[in-house]
Symmetry: C2
Subunit: 136 residues, 2 copies
């Protein structure tokens, strides 16, 4: 078995990407979903922290590079079709979302309206002092 | 506000789809990820159970239609970019995966190999007596 077999086992899509779900290793909360390519996944495993592929910026996204909100890797899984990745992480700073909330999934459907259901823990302007945007 | 605004708020991809993560409402376990289009999401909310869009079969996939392993809807969320859906569900039968396991994310990376880390709870042949395949 070559050292890259574990990467080749992933059923990358026609863009060379796979969805990657980040889940809090302790609480089980789903924090976010982003995308990975083979290089992002390789570096995630090598460095022990979540590194995604930013589709909007067309480059590797070292989660936490602007915000400090690094995701330290605890466990990594793939699903039965090998086309979705699940990361169990420690969320440094307790904030995954670029809006300053713990989870990106802060809007809940109530009476057919999306309601903001989670508090902003830190003002985004204070998070991204030098580097605005959602490259969190 | 029209009654479909909540659907139009979703940033569907160029195929008209969005990833939908199913999470056990009680335990927090991530059970699976599949895809939804506007009709799937509408029906999910109307019927109170997870209904996905099967990309391989090109039709709505009423989760549990073959297996009985219906996912009853507790809560539904969208992320900050409104392009990923999170369902919190009760997993009927405690089996989400067509392999007979609780979660589709049963393979864990250990020493750069994917190891099966979760038991088969029920033989798939016993689950899909009349309708084989992963349309679970």
């Amino acid at each position: 078995m070559t050292s890259t077999n574990w990467i080749d086992a992933i059923a990358w899509d026609d863009q060379g990407l796979a969805p990657a779900i980040a889940q809090d290793a302790e609480t089980g909360e789903v924090l976010m979903m982003a995308w990975m390519n083979a290089e992002a996944l390789t570096r995630t495993v090598e460095e022990g922290r979540a590194i995604y592929w930013s589709r909007s910026r067309g480059k590797l996204w070292r989660k936490g590079e602007s915000s400090g909100h690094v995701q330290t890797l605890h466990d990594i899984r793939i699903d039965c079709d090998a086309d979705v990745i699940l990361l169990k992480v420690d969320q440094i700073g307790d904030i995954a979302c670029h809006t300053g909330r713990r989870s990106c999934f802060y809007r809940r459907l109530e009476d057919r309206q999306w309601i903001e259901a989670e508090p902003v823990l830190k003002d985004p302007d204070a998070i991204y002092q030098d580097d605005k945007g959602n490259g969190s």
